[in-house]
């Protein structure tokens, strides 16, 4: 169905040379890794032939205007189509900002949607593995994913792997000032840990010390 619609639009457009994107939905993502946080910028550029599909999913009330609510809903739907993990643990991307072109700009294939999102990165070991899968509009998508050179000298990118379409991306990096998981404990866990430590000091530790002292005296 999508293919037929695109073909029909292309025939209507009827010219072999275009100045702008046609039948693809370019989705470029640039990721930045910091200590404890990931930030990403997505630039979404629908081609002129696929813009009707996109407009239908953005301007959901079809009133010809992309309202703030529709912008947020669409931005969130894009993030829902992402799968983000660190060291096998699922991460939830949080929308930071969204910027939309007008409907006319989208119709003409000159519209860029800009999304920014972030995700908190839990503490982990020295060697870390981040994965990003983008499933948004996969039938028409042209994906691109890259990461910036980290500003933090303690973070070094080790390897990037992608599948051919760049819908799947794996980033391996080394964090030389990695914190142990205990530092990441919640205040409740810290309190529990301290209580247990106090109990041990009051009951277990003196008993052990007394036993050893008695043993030393006997010998």
């Amino acid at each position: 169905m999508i293919a037929r619609l695109i073909a029909a639009i292309l025939i209507l457009a009827g010219t072999p040379a275009f100045a702008h994107r046609l039948d693809e939905y370019l989705q470029g993502t640039i990721i930045s890794i910091e200590k404890g946080r990931l930030q990403a910028q997505m630039t979404l550029t629908p081609g002129v032939a696929v813009s009707p599909l996109l407009i239908a999913s953005i301007d959901t009330d079809s009133n010809g205007v992309i309202s703030q609510t529709e912008q947020l809903e669409y931005a969130r739907s894009v993030l829902q189509d992402l799968s983000l993990t660190i060291d096998g643990r699922h991460l939830t991307p949080q929308l930071v900002s969204e910027q939309f072109p007008t409907l006319d700009e989208l119709k003409d294939g000159r519209g860029e949607i800009q999304l920014e999102f972030k995700a908190d990165l839990p503490g982990g070991g020295r060697n870390r593995k981040l994965t990003l899968e983008n499933h948004h509009q996969s039938a028409i998508a042209a994906y691109q994913v890259n990461c910036t050179v980290p500003r933090d000298p303690n973070i070094r990118i080790a390897r990037q792997n992608r599948n051919y379409s760049q819908s799947s991306y794996v980033l391996e990096y080394v964090q030389t000032n990695a914190e142990s998981a205990s530092v990441e404990m919640s205040p409740v866990a810290v309190l529990m840990f301290l209580s247990l430590a106090v109990l041990w000091l009051r009951h277990v530790w003196p008993t052990n010390v007394m036993r050893r002292f008695a043993h030393w005296r006997r010998n």
Binding site: L10, A13, G14, T15, P16, A17, F18, A19, H20, R21, L22, D23, E24, L26, G28, I30, T43, G47, V48, D104, K107, D108, G109, R110, E112, A142, Q144, N146, C147, T148, V149, I157, Q160, R162, N163, Y164, S165, Q166
Partner: protein, 348 residues
């Protein structure tokens, strides 16, 4: 036969020759800029001139036609023949002979696009209306005041062309700049023209000069559809990938520098020499990455994407699959992530 000149004429001739020779490239550029500005009326001057720190104007460039992404400044179509000549004289003063020729070929290609698609951009022109293609639709603007000492910038561009040249004393900083071509192969006056021929041919020659294991490192196993650091992506440095030049032999490294020179050499010769020295010093930390076909139809352009990246350099060559042959539609980007728009000297 001897020609006898009066003493005063001989003195004047020698003096003017030596002063022309003594004039630095920047002095010539400033003189051309002032000559161009002197041809404009008050309203035109106001439209052509911007503050050096005008961030909106600075980033108002694109690969897209002007009816899709609006430019500001003065377009060639609204200038009188004398004003237009003065504008081109300024652009040619800033560029090398080869660079100016490339600019003209990109504009000629766009003129051909207009002829082929009809005035007004024809179909695919978008609702923005107005003309999309042609030599008249290239804009010139000056940010700051032309000076031999203080920073100022010349912008010239339109569809598939964005030259941002910051003049910083004797330096001419050409980053970020975008070149492109559509059609990327055409015939004019019986001569076949490929505006980005060298960028295509030299990169392919370098790729072919690599050993099998080097190629494996250089090849990206994924598809790259477009520029990663195109318009709107200022100030980003992505993680480099591919084959590091420190793993190349001397001949291959020389070939890599030769590819780089296709961009660094767009600006006038003395600025290009300074830039090339900087890039040569970075060569060990420069990467070459390739995605796509490794063969080319004779007389045509690469359909593969490639990227050259170093500490002070990003070059991207990205053929476009937009309803036609990617060899006929190319976008290319040239950046210095540490010094785009001459920001580095500005902060000194």
């Amino acid at each position: 036969m001897t020609i006898r000149l009066p003493f005063w004429m001989a003195t004047l001739t020698v003096f003017s020759m030596s002063s022309a020779m003594a004039q630095t490239p920047t002095a010539r550029i400033v003189s051309s800029a002032n000559s161009f500005l002197s041809t404009l009326d008050q309203k035109q001057r106001e439209r052509a001139l911007f503050a050096f720190d005008d961030e909106e104007q600075r980033v108002r460039w694109s690969n897209l036609p002007i009816s899709i992404v609006r430019r500001a400044g003065l377009n060639m179509g609204e200038l009188s023949p004398a004003q237009r000549a003065a504008a081109f004289s300024l652009v040619s003063a800033v560029l090398s002979k080869k660079g100016f020729e490339k600019v003209q070929q990109i504009m000629d290609g766009d003129e051909l696009l207009k002829t082929n698609q009809g005035k007004g951009g024809g179909k695919g022109g978008g609702k923005g209306g107005g003309a999309m293609f042609g030599k008249d639709l290239y804009y010139i603007s000056i940010l700051g005041t032309p000076s031999e000492k203080n920073l100022w910038m010349l912008q010239f561009g339109g569809h598939h062309l964005a030259l941002n040249i910051t003049i910083a004393g004797e330096r001419g900083i050409l980053t970020p700049s975008l070149t492109g071509a559509q059609p990327a192969v055409y015939t004019i006056d019986g001569k076949t023209v490929r505006p980005l021929r060298q960028e295509s041919d030299k990169a392919l020659a370098l790729f072919n000069a690599l050993e099998e294991n080097q190629r494996k490192q250089a090849i990206l196993t994924y598809r790259v559809s477009d520029l990663v650091l195109g318009p709107g992506q200022d100030g980003k440095t992505i993680q480099p990938e591919g084959l590091k030049a420190s793993s190349m032999n001397e001949k291959q490294r020389a070939m890599l520098l030769d590819v780089i020179a296709e961009w660094a050499g767009i600006v006038h010769d003395s600025a290009a020499a300074t830039r090339m020295a900087e890039l040569k010093a970075d060569l060990n930390d420069t990467w070459f990455a390739w995605s796509g076909p490794t063969t080319v139809t004779s007389g045509s352009n690469l359909t593969a994407y490639y990227r050259i990246q170093g500490p002070h350099l990003v070059i991207e060559y990205a053929p476009q699959q937009m309803g036609g042959d990617p060899a006929m539609h190319i976008h290319a980007m040239y950046r210095d992530p540490t010094n785009d728009y001459g920001r580095k000297p500005a902060t000194k």
